[in-house]
């Protein structure tokens, strides 16, 4: 579904991704961990072409998104993305946030879109918040709306970038529960997180990144219990 081959990415002189190879197959839940600045967010952002890359190839469902002839907007419809800072549209209600892209991008009929949107809100446990504006919602609620908004495009895969890092501890679980349900439903997911409990319980693969490279990857439980690389050991020692 997602395939990165020899991906190099620099910001000016700073090389942030140094040759990433990664293949995510359908229904996998790939959890990515690593120290700050190791390039996790950048890698995720490259996967839906929010950042251009200098070298390498990125295939999404077989489509090369680094090819200038590719319509990246079409590809992005297939990839849902959720951000650390929620990024809900503050001038729109929860329901409108969810409905906007299906209406304007997919040009689906309003009735159908509203039906889907209300179903998604119920799925993330916020049916009664449909008409609330983002600033009337808690962080955890905003993040669940953001997940519902991404799901409304009926994506084939979802990218999560530290979606619980900005939340108070007591709100983290409600967001992780939504993500776990998604994973159990067979969604293909790439999740950058420091929630090792989530990685162990829900992840099908764990990847440790450092300095713009993938240092180690493997079965989450196995890797958390017995990390092979020195750097992985040190990092896990810090977050566990």
């Amino acid at each position: 579904m997602i395939r990165l081959m020899g991906v190099h990415k620099s910001f000016g002189d700073l090389e942030v991704l140094r040759g990433i190879d990664l293949h995510v197959v359908k229904s996998e839940v790939v959890v990515i961990i690593g120290p700050s600045g190791s390039g996790k967010s950048t890698m995720l952002r490259c996967m839906n072409a929010l950042e251009p890359i200098q070298r390498g190839t990125i295939l999404i469902e077989g489509v090369d998104i680094t090819d200038p002839k590719t319509d990246v907007n079409k590809v992005r419809e297939k990839i849902g993305m959720v951000f650390q800072s929620f990024n809900l549209f503050p001038h729109k209600t929860a329901l409108e946030n969810i409905m906007l892209a299906p209406l304007k991008v997919q040009k689906k009929p309003r009735e159908q879109v509203e039906h889907i949107a209300r179903e998604l809100l119920a799925k993330v446990g916020l049916a009664e918040k449909a008409d609330s504006y983002p600033d009337q919602l808690s962080g955890g609620q905003q993040q669940r709306v953001a997940i519902a908004r991404a799901l409304a495009m009926q994506p084939d895969m979802m990218l999560f970038d530290e979606v619980t890092s900005a939340l108070d501890p007591e709100l983290v679980a409600e967001v992780l529960n939504v993500m776990r349900d998604l994973a159990l439903g067979g969604m293909t997911m790439v999740v950058v997180t420091h929630e090792m409990g989530f990685a162990r319980e829900v992840g099908t693969r764990l990847i440790f990144m450092d300095g713009g490279s993938i240092v180690e990857e493997g079965d989450p439980r196995e890797m958390i219990a017995h990390p092979q690389e020195e750097r992985t050991k040190r990092f896990l020692g810090m977050v566990l």
């Binding site: 700050s36 839906n48 929010l50 907007n73 079409k74 992005r76 419809e77 990839i79 849902g80 993305m81 951000f83 650390q84 800072s85 929620f86 990024n87 809900l88 549209f89 503050p90 001038h91 906007l100 892209a101 304007k104 991008v105 997919q106 983002p134 600033d135 919602l137 808690s138 962080g139 905003q142 953001a146 908004r149 991404a150 495009m153 619980t164 890092s165 900005a166 501890p169 983290v172 679980a173 992780l176 420091h194 929630e195 090792m196 409990g197 989530f198 319980e201 810090m238 977050v239 566990l240």
Partner: protein
């Protein structure tokens, strides 16, 4: 004291002048409404060009904005009215001979577009980058993200500074008196000549500030209200930078 009253607050003249000046208000309103309408449409367009990824458009917008921000409005006004008319008369191209009101509206629109373009640009740039990214990641094109996500938020933030532009243009409509548009200052000056007394100017001054001062206050109030951040919309960068908070499900 007596002299002051006789020359600047002469009651008999005031009584005459007030209705005379009030009758010019539709003309002032017309200059304002049309000037601002075209200025804002053209200014928004310029700001989008300024932010475009096409270098030619960016370059054009920068040159235009700098040029007309640097140019005295009065000069442009005279140029569009008299400057073109002289050439029109000389060459027989009648289209160059503009009615004074149209010349004034054009000059206002051209200059105020440059001022408001900077206001619109600041408004667009004040919207966090995450908004564009969220919109783009949902499959929206650049245009759709602008139209449905960025501009609706940006236009709200530019209301106070645009109100200040409105105040500035109310004052600048008086420049049109130079090309004999029968607006407020033109009529006041005319009356002053007839009665050989500056009281009509006092009346005109009062009429101007009656309109401008409430708008100045309003802009200040709107600005203050916008400065108070509404709780929980955006995470401050320093908090977003905080890192691992492990252990939720452990």
């Amino acid at each position: 004291m007596d002299a002051l009253q006789r020359y600047y607050f002469n009651w008999d003249i005031i009584k005459d002048t007030v209705p005379l000046l009030l009758r010019t208000l539709p003309t002032v309103a017309e200059l304002l409404a049309l000037g601002l309408l075209f200025a804002f449409i053209w200014g928004l367009t310029l700001s989008l060009m300024r932010l475009s990824r096409f270098r030619v458009l960016r370059w054009f917008a920068v040159v235009y904005i700098d040029f007309f921000r640097g140019l005295p409005l009065l000069l442009l006004l005279i140029f569009i009215y008299s400057g073109l008319a002289i050439v029109g008369a000389d060459t027989g191209i009648d289209a160059l001979i503009l009615p004074p009101t149209i010349a004034a509206v054009s000059a206002f629109a051209i200059c105020y577009a440059a001022y408001s373009a900077e206001v619109f640009r600041a408004g667009i740039e004040s919207i966090p980058k995450g908004q564009t990214e969220a919109a783009r990641s949902l499959g929206m094109t650049y245009g759709q993200a602008m139209r449905y996500v960025i501009l609706p938020q940006a236009l709200k933030t530019v209301i106070p500074p645009l109100t200040n532009e409105l105040v500035a243009l109310i004052k600048d409509t008086s420049l049109a008196s130079v090309i004999s548009v029968p607006e407020l200052l033109f009529r006041a000056k005319e009356k002053m000549g007839v009665v050989a007394n500056p009281t009509p100017l006092t009346v005109a001054a009062v009429v101007y500030v009656v309109f401008t001062i409430p708008l100045i206050r309003l802009a200040a109030r709107l600005e203050r209200r916008q400065k108070q951040p509404r709780a929980g919309t955006q995470i401050p960068a320093d908090m977003a930078a905080q890192l691992p908070k492990g252990g939720g499900l452990l």
